[in-house]
Every structure is written in C-alpha cells, then in structure tokens.
Amino acid sequence: MVNEKIEQGTSRLGTLVGGAAMLACVSFPTGAHSSTLMRDNLDYAEHKIANDTSTGSGFAGQTYSFNEAQKQKFSRKENFLIELVRTFVSVDSSDVAKIDPDINEKSFSAALMFLMRMPNGLAIPTYDIMPDGDFSYVWHTDKGIVTTAFSSEGWLNYASYDAKTGNRHKGKICLLNKEEKILLEKEYSEANEIIFSLIRKVT
C-alpha cells in the first residue's frame, strides 16, 4: 500500500516537474502567443495534479500533500519545487491555473527552470519577491548571503556578500538568445559556474 502510494506520488511528481518544465521552456517567447502557451502549459500541469486521486494544489482552497514516506523519496530540491508550486500556483473556479499575482509569470518560470538545473548537492535556498514582482532565491547563512533574481526580460541578476572576507560580487547574465526564444545551455553553464561557486562559499 505504501509502495503504491509512493509510486503514485512519484508519478504525480513527474507530472508536476514535467508541467513546470514545459511551462518554463515556453515562457520566454514574447507576445500574446507566448502568454497563451504559458497558460496552457500551466493549466496542463495543474489539471493533471487536480485530477489525480489527491486533490489539487495552491491557495485556491484545495490541498495536495504527500505523506512523509513520499517526501523522503524526493530529493530536497524536489520537495522545494513542490513547495514553490503549492505556494504560488493555484487553480481557480474555472479550472484555470494561475500564478500568484504578486509575482511575474516569466520570472517565476525562469526561477523554476534554474532550480531544476541546480545540482542536487547544492544547498536549497529560500525565496524572496522583489518590489517589482521578480522572483528570487536567497541563500543566507552566517557565512554570507547570495541572491539571484530572475527578470521577466530573461536576465538573471545576482549579488553575493561573503561575511568573512567582506567580498561582494554582483552582476547579471542573459538567459536568452537574440531571438529570445530559448534558454541557452551556454548561458546556463556560465551562470552555473558563477552562481554556484558563490553559493558554495556561503553554505
């Protein structure tokens, strides 16, 4: 029985991650078409969740939870991903998936994509929401702090502060190609090298 539930949970997680990945991959094309694509994919992800044996997720009043055995099956990164979707994605009365109005959709999508590409051994961040609605991750320990904010235009803005040395690093990385259609692996690799090394210093 427990194994069945774990398998169901894993299957649902796969659907969730797949839906989030689809959402993230098509989120950057600009214009009305891209917004429709994003909504369609978010709807798809949420529809799958809502129609599973457990109830749907989000702040629209429905709850969706894994038991402890299921949670242990998932990595900390996966659990954090689930927490983010549960916190900021909801299904309204018309069965349409929506993102928390306080955050930018494209920013949130980019952040999910970044999280999914993080190595499993890296410390899990907390989240933060900028005054302009951009979604960000924060790694904040006694050693220092690193913040990565994802803009709607496809920029990853980052800043870090090493408390021991007083060193501060900051900059921005473009995560789109010139056509603004896909997230380039090269740019992600560059971001990985810079951002992850900063994170490892404070965690």
Binding site: T147, A159, R168
Partner: protein
Amino acid sequence: MKLFSLLLEKLLNFIGLYNSQISPIETIGENCSISSALEKNPSCDPEGASSSGVTSLPDIVSDDERIARVIHGGSSLKSIKKLYNPSTNKIKPSRFMDDRNPRELSVNRISTLTIDESHALGVAFVDDLNSKSGGNVTYHGYGELTVKICLEAGCTEVIKDDVAGTKPYHANILYPKKEVFEELDIANVLAFHALFVKHSK
C-alpha cells in the same frame, strides 16, 4: 551656568564618557516614553512633540545611531516567508528595497529607545497604515542596523525626516536608482547585518 554645562559636555565627550550626538538633553520630554504616549499620557506625546515645543532628535543622523526598519505584512505563513525566514529569523533582502527614485527606505531612529519603545513605534505605524487603508497588516518586528552599515553597504545617506515634527523618530535611508544587481548588492548587505528583533504578541 549654561556655559558651564557646555564646557562639561565638551570635556566628557572628549574623554569618551558622553556622546554629544545622542544627547539625553535632546530627548523627547522628561521621563517620557513611547509606551506612556500610547497610554495616552497627556503630558507625554512624542507624536506631538513639535507642537508642544519639546526638542526633537538631532538634525544630523550620526553614523553610530541605531535605526530600525519596520517589518510588516500578512500573518499567514506564506506572507511571513516573504518577509523573513521563520526558521532562521533572517530578514529577506526585498525588505531593504524600494521602487521609488531615489530609493527611500523608511526607518526609525532608536538609539534613545528601549526595545519595547522601538516596537511601539512599529505598532503605531502599522495601526496608522491599517486605519487609513482599511487593511489588516501585521507588525512582525524590526530589523536593526546602524547608519554606518548602511553607508558601507552603498547607501548615499540617512536623513532625518520627521514629517513636519509629527514623527520625531523617523528617518530615510536614501540611494539612487541603480542596476538591479547593484540594488540587490546593497539589499544583501543590509539584510545580512540586520538583527531581526521579533515582536512577541
């Protein structure tokens, strides 16, 4: 007598026994506290200090002054997590960011106040906010910093802004609008150094 007081003040300041920047001579009233003001003590009303003729804090906000950034928002766990990490009590960098130009971070000058009095300022601010907007914002506490930290982080200045004497403890941290990553950098340093003094209800 006045000359003697002035000479004594200068002598004590010279030998480090007296901080003339935060002079008790210049505090609001005598034996006057925010808490007693909130108890509607008619003889003690920091909010009306200007009208009663009571001296306010020094015009210049010195580098060693302690300032408090009010942390307020919703009361749900989701709302709290947007303000600070409830597991570690570390304030989120966004609490030290602004969208005006130049950027303005509203703070209270708390060097002369106790923790309870500092909290009372925050409670009064949130109550005022709720009464004007009809909202239900919760006061969670404040993030304590020094002016020196703000300047080292990259802020331009911290200036007194007592709103025509109605808010004698109020000041603003100022810095110009910059690139997002530069503002993140400032917010990071402020968030790291801020001591979160949580309000116990």
